[in-house]
């Protein structure tokens, strides 16, 4: 059992706590953006791919790395763009299409019999 393993386990355990707590605070309203957001973040495997692609070990490595970089950056770019596009759509105030009166009415479940 190496120091690296133990260190890694510390990071892993703490990060899992953080992750669990942060995610469980995300409301259902934003679960789809959450999915594509984490997706973009998972594109961090880009870091590993870059090393492989730039390692100049031999052609095989470079090509493998190249494909990896491509795939990962699709996720990063795509993920962040879509998530942002989604979040831009969520707005609180009524759209002009609807009269303000209705907006007020819709603010909370009105208990009218």
């Amino acid at each position: 059992m190496s120091d690296d393993l133990v260190f890694g386990l510390y990071i892993f355990a703490l990060a899992t706590f953080v992750g669990y707590q942060v995610i469980s605070r995300v409301p259902p309203l934003l679960h789809t953006p959450l999915m594509s957001g984490t997706n973009a973040i998972s594109g961090i495997s880009l870091v590993g791919s870059l090393v492989a692609a730039g390692g100049k070990h031999d052609l095989t490595s470079s090509i493998l790395g190249f494909v990896a970089v491509t795939a990962a950056s699709i996720n990063v770019v795509g993920g962040f763009m879509i998530t942002d596009r989604m979040l831009r759509m969520f707005n609180k105030k009524k759209s002009p299409a609807l009269p303000p009166a209705a907006a007020a009415g819709a603010k909370r479940p009105v208990k009218t019999a």
Binding site: S2, D4, I41, G54, G55, T70, N75, M89, F90
Partner: protein, 482 residues
């Protein structure tokens, strides 16, 4: 020194990623959060380019450019209704990247070992050989990565319909899958023990097993269960990233992997809980057929009498209603009816009717599916109410419009103990004075169970594509006939 600065940069990036997810706890802070995430990613990438191991840049630049192009193209052209597909696809890319990184690293290390054996290079040049930790995590990474890759492709296929949504099952299927899984583990253990002395075919066999397991494991799962599968694969991808982190001694990979993994796990738990099904049931239950209506419900038999209503009937009811609740479902996504819904609601509100939306946690095919679609049609999110907030209001409501929802409005879930969705919380729509259901046929929904609601006296079935129906309803309500 440089190494330490790089890993400090990674620390900053990791913190920014955490802030990014924290931002998603409210729509207001969401975009700021995403910006922080992008910043973190930028920092991480730039820092990486300073690594000593990176010598040439042409492959890197090519990859980054190509990837960004494709990424942009996809994200600009994909409609919101295709989100589940898109997410499945990007999990596939993620899995691919992880697994390839693993293979490349393995290839490099083995090469060095070989050269060392033939004295082509000195130990000094070789640097430290492969440790057990590295071998173990590499194996893990490649296996999980490959599995995620093919698994997500399968999920994508099933959602798109390239591959039949129906569960493909055969005898001893689970046994076979578990066998393959066990085999891969055995191979991994052997390699961890013997390191460079283990034959390379073992590594690639293990990798191949991962690829095939991804296919085999998803085949028996119904198309409509794909969302759960996707979230689960998401958490596998997270684990794979963590493994990469262990292999390359990179904390940022471990942290992001953990974030990713917990999100995937939490969402899939949420879904199976809301459908009240166990993981086991989702993964091995061969349940759900994807294309609604595929399953003919037991109670169907000879067509039963139901209240087949016209646009005019529905419009009349709506005109007479003070309070209306709209319950969207998967059908709204299929027919892309969100804008039509918004217009109808606006028209009703102009007539002084109060309109609210009831959003079920598992309406649609993905968590938050309905919320995104309605947000796209720019319905303000404070007009959307979830189960416990609105369920008591139905009894006090004049009319409910069910737009392509089925299971989430099935009263059987409350009463019929034999129903497969018994116990799943559903909306009490049947308590409203009158219920208008928009769907194409009397077919069943995702769960493939008959819905008593459709046969209740106070229910009007307006059959046809939801979007078309809504547009005509809009016309009728506006009073200009259409």
């Amino acid at each position: 020194m440089r190494e330490q600065f790089i890993s400090l940069a990674y620390l900053v990036a990791s913190i920014l990623f955490i802030m990014c997810l924290r931002g998603l706890s409210s729509p207001e802070q969401g975009r700021r959060g995403i910006f922080l995430g992008e910043l973190g990613m930028l920092i991480a990438v730039v820092a990486t380019l300073f690594k000593a191991e990176i010598i040439t840049f042409e492959w890197i630049i090519a990859g980054l450019l190509l990837g960004s192009l494709i990424g942009t193209a996809i994200s600009l052209r994909i409609p919101m209704t295709q989100m589940p597909e898109r997410i499945a696809l990007s999990h596939a890319f993620g899995g691919l990247a992880t697994s390839l990184v693993g293979v490349a690293e393995y290839h490099r290390v083995r090469d060095i070992a070989a050269q060392l054996a033939t004295d082509a290079i000195t130990v000094a040049q070789a640097g430290h050989g492969m440790t057990r930790l590295e071998m173990g995590s590499l194996g893990f990474e490649v296996f999980l990565g490959s599995l995620t890759f093919t698994g997500s492709l399968m999920a994508f296929g099933k959602l798109q319909g390239f591959i039949t949504g129906a569960p493909v099952t055969w005898k001893g299927q689970n046994l076979m899958n578990f066998g393959a899984f066990g085999g891969a583990i055995v191979l991994l253990v052997y390699q961890v023990i013997f390191l460079a002395d283990a034959p390379q075919w073992m590594f690639f066999t293990m990798c191949g097993t991962g690829f095939s397991l991804g296919v085999l494991a998803v085949l028996p799962i119904g198309g409509a269960d794909m969302p759960v599968v996707i979230s689960l694969l998401n958490s596998y991808a997270g684990l794979a990233a963590c493994a990469t982190g262990f292999a390359l001694r990179s904390n940022i990979l471990i942290i992001s992997g953990a974030l990713d993994g917990s999100s995937g796990l939490l969402l899939s738990l949420l879904m199976s809980k809301a459908m009240n099904r166990s993981f086991a049931n989702v993964l091995f239950g061969a349940f759900g057929t994807g294309d609604s209506g595929g399953v003919t419900a037991p109670g169907a038999g000879p067509a039963r009498a139901f209240n087949d209503a016209t646009i005019e009937d529905a419009a009349a009811v709506l005109a007479a209603s003070q309070t209306v609740i709209i319950v969207p479902g998967y059908g709204m996504a299929v027919s892309q009816a969100q804008h039509a819904v918004r217009d109808l609601a606006a028209a009703l509100e102009k007539n002084g009717t109060e309109v609210k939306y009831a959003i079920h946690p598992v309406a649609g095919r993905m968590p938050g599916h309905m919320n995104v679609l309605l947000a796209e049609a720019n319905v303000p999110y404070d007009a959307l109410f979830d189960l416990d907030m609105i369920n008591d209001d139905f009894a006090r409501t004049d009319a409910v419009i069910v737009v392509g929802a089925n299971d989430v409005v099935n009263p059987g879930a409350k009463t019929d103990t034999k129903s497969p969705i018994y116990g799943m919380p559903v909306f009490n729509v049947e308590q409203a004075r009158s219920v208008i259901v928009l769907k194409r046929s009397m077919n069943t929904g995702f769960a493939g169970v008959e819905n008593e609601l459709f046969f209740l006296p106070n229910t009007m079935m307006v059959l046809g594509d939801a979007k078309k129906t809504l547009i005509s309803l809009f016309g009728a309500v506006k009073g200009d006939g259409h």
